[in-house]
Subunit: 319 residues, 2 copies
């Protein structure tokens, strides 16, 4: 069975024709966005282009789209998509006009979580939590081998669990979210502010200037014993480790799959966060539990979205 | 279809014969424990007695037992049961010798959550989180209308999610657990210590002495403007509200069912905690979400355990 998986990232649209039974990518393509503020209809049109490129003979059973944004259940409506600056857009209708009715939107981390559980780092595992620490922080839940999207498709939003009541301001408008402390964007912004404010760190030299400091340079500095980076990583790893531990304590998965640009580009932070996770987690939940890195990398979302559309009954636009 | 639900509480064993389709209690009985340190074989024997009392004609399809303790998956082994002081006890084998093979142990909060979702405060709702704040703090998850016990039956353990890294010592041996701040036992212990240490509160007068202060009197004092109780409730409601909000943000249920002795006996604390929950929760998750009180009260666990055993395939002792 063949299906097309689409990933709509910050800089481009990617599509792959997937052999769903084998979990194999048969063809792949991508197109950059023409501008920063790309309109919904233009994005839908580009989706049509990349889908036709990877599946010119229309062999697919459907098109699954992993979308970085909050969706309203099965309605196909994007509630908010920070990457595109969209609010309340009936994006699925636009895409269906391009690629046909058998097309569904999934939260990007839901698609990734399902991809990893079906084909990747948690293959064959029934109960999986997947968390990506990148530009933002998100997650997805696989329960009894099925994606659990949540009652309104907002399940797995670990980035917006609160770690410090009334704490740092998050991009979502609330305070104290995990993402406000641990996302690449927020780590970078905070470190640059503190370094401009007089803090000193080896990360500035490594980066070639404060403006270029990001999580990767801070990680290198922390590894080399830099005091500022070490203190920052102590705080960030404690909060990330606590939030991961709490998700494991609450959901009792047998595997946690970790990925994302910050997680993969800051191995010292990842190492410390895992140590904290095992320190904070409900101790009996450690039995039979393990943490692994993403095995599918950038293809996880396309693989997961294709598998989801292939396995899913056709649905109408219920709320 | 008839099944027997059993609840093994701190002071007694209760059993009910349940009409599973109607969710109706047809007969009910209870027996107190003979002593504080009651042995597993004595508890199993009492379970046999109460089961035969409510179902003398052996009309049941099975016996479901809600058990306040941590279980090891479907093995029937109790990992730890603080109420009885047990560790690593193959309790299911003892009970099966008394009541027959069709008998299963469930975590008490799992049984309660399923009972509320099937018959009570979340009847007909697919995705439910249930949290009890009583002597301890526990929870259960119902996903797609089915109990989600977790990979090793430790799902829903919200009481052992961490709210303050390195914070107050919990009965589980770890620090900073929600339960260490918000369970009846810990609230009472802490308040009595602080009042003996020189804090003053109206709760002492209401209770007739420091030794009698508990969450109910502190709640009454807070309602009347008492400074100590108000400050304590501010802290407890902030941490409880945050933990509940995080569970809702992560699991995206459409209903949260709340119960337990402290929750029901301290309405001012409950009111403040709900306000905090709505303040801290991922805002889009509020759509279509509501908080309700337990509708089945003390019978929730027996109803849920009976429904679970009636709906479940017979299982062998896999891990």
């Amino acid at each position: 069975m063949l299906a097309v998986g689409v990933d709509l990232g910050a800089t481009n649209a990617r599509a792959a024709l997937i052999d769903v039974d084998a979990g194999k990518v048969l063809a792949e393509t991508k197109r950059p966005w023409p501008s920063h503020d790309v309109a919904p209809s233009a994005v839908a049109s580009i989706v049509g282009t990349v889908v036709r490129e990877v599946d010119p003979k229309n062999e697919r059973v459907g098109v699954g789209i992993g979308f970085a944004g909050m969706l309203r259940g099965w309605s196909g409506v994007v509630v908010i998509a920070p990457n595109f600056g969209w609010k309340e857009i009936d994006f699925r209708s636009l895409v269906r006009a391009e690629v046909g009715e058998r097309c569904e939107l999934y939260n990007d981390l839901n698609a990734i979580a399902y991809g990893e559980a079906r084909y990747g780092g948690a293959r064959g595992v029934r109960d999986v939590v997947c968390v990506y620490v990148g530009t933002g922080v998100g997650g997805g839940l696989v329960i009894n081998g099925q994606l659990y999207a949540g009652a309104t498709h907002l399940g797995g939003e670990i980035g917006h669990t609160k770690v410090i009541p009334g704490g740092r301001l998050c991009g979502c408008g609330m305070r104290g979210c995990l993402e406000a402390y641990t996302s690449g964007r927020n780590i970078q912004k905070r470190a640059q502010e503190e370094l401009r404010g007089g803090e000193r760190s080896l990360a500035v030299e490594l980066a070639g200037g404060i403006d270029h400091v990001h999580a990767g340079f801070l990680d290198e500095a922390a590894r080399r014993g830099d005091v500022y980076a070490g203190r920052l990583w102590e705080e960030v790893s404690t909060l990330l480790g606590m939030a991961l531990a709490n998700a494991v304590t609450l959901c009792n998965p047998s595997r946690l799959v970790m990925g994302g640009g910050v997680w993969q580009g800051a191995p010292e932070l990842a190492r410390r966060s895992i140590a904290r996770l095992f320190e904070f987690v409900n101790q009996p939940s450690r039995e039979g539990f393990e943490v692994v890195d993403t095995a599918l990398g950038d293809s996880a979302g396309m693989l997961g979205a294709a598998a989801l559309i292939a396995g899913q009954p056709a649905r109408e636009g219920e709320g």
